[in-house]
Point group: C2
Chain length 194, copies 2
């Protein structure tokens, strides 16, 4: 029986939808925007900033982390946000049966035997179609949007966990939602949690 | 319904045992040593050489592929072996319902919709224990044996497929046999094949 399920996902892979359905089926609390709200409240940072910087590396440069200013109690704002976010994820993990999407929760809670860590991915063609359907067109090519989001998530993950994002070794199970279908992924994760 | 199941695996993760049990449960033909025998027969190379060079990069240097001699019809022996092995895997895929372990079969057959590609991994501590139980002690530290085997498999895979071995994106499903248990992995793969 798994008390906590962490869902890491490639942008556009349907990982959030899968997480929500898993939580509903198991009667678990679902943390996605709800986590952002908690972190924003505790840190005093805006929800928009938390949503962005709590999961993505700064966009300009791959070395951006090295050049961040130090502003809050001698920490960069990003490191301050990380420490608040980490603390809240640990607290949630102590208290509730839950599904947590993103935010390195797989790393923060992954050592616990009652935690199941899941990675959801799919072919870029399928993901590009999905993000256009879901979030609409923008001036930027959808493949470029995918690549940029994945790269920045990967850098954030590497910086704070020292692990390679999307490497099988990090997760209990990794599923291709494009070839297996969302419903099959939900079934498998629910089956493993029970 | 999946006609072909490819199993890629970290050394000592129990991937071969899982593959064998999946094949038995589905009534599929199992290709592991059987594949090596077919390749040895067709190529005229020894079984021992095929078992080793058909899956592992040369041990001495990470650049060894670049310095291989060219001996058979203008190909290096490794490239000759690869072409024979690839052809046999494609033929098997046409003819039979089967489980194929290793040998880049996930890449060679992965575009087919009736192929399920699986990656099995586990924590090095669990794998080290397993290889000592299964293959006995040697003069070399089991962690070093794991690292060397994985590194050479990874280089072979990268050279012939241009993909990163052990990256979630390559596979339909990746399973941690250490945390999930071998039997659970068998169940999930059989469930997805049916």
């Amino acid at each position: 029986m798994k008390k906590i399920i962490t869902i890491s996902r490639e942008f556009g892979s349907g990982g959030r939808s899968i997480g929500k359905r898993v939580a509903d089926k198991l009667g678990y609390k679902y943390y996605d925007k709800e986590l952002i709200e908690k972190v924003a409240e505790k840190s005093g940072l805006s929800k928009k900033y938390v949503a962005e910087a709590g999961e993505y590396a700064p966009s300009k440069s791959r070395f951006s982390y090295a050049f961040l200013g130090r502003n809050v109690n001698g920490l960069s704002v990003e490191d301050y946000l990380w420490s608040i976010q980490r603390g809240i994820i640990l607290d949630i993990g102590k208290e509730e049966h839950c599904v947590i999407v993103g935010r390195c929760a797989d790393h923060i809670l992954g050592d616990r035997e009652d935690c199941l860590s899941v990675f959801i991915h799919a072919d870029p063609k399928i993901r590009a179609k999905r993000i256009v359907e879901r979030y609409g067109e923008t001036d930027t090519d959808p493949f470029k949007r995918l690549k940029d989001k994945d790269r920045r998530r990967s850098l954030n993950y590497k910086y704070y966990t020292d692990r390679q994002w999307g490497a099988c070794d990090n997760y209990d199970i990794a599923l291709n939602s494009g070839t297996l279908g969302l419903e099959r992924c939900v079934e498998i994760v629910v089956g493993l949690a029970r």
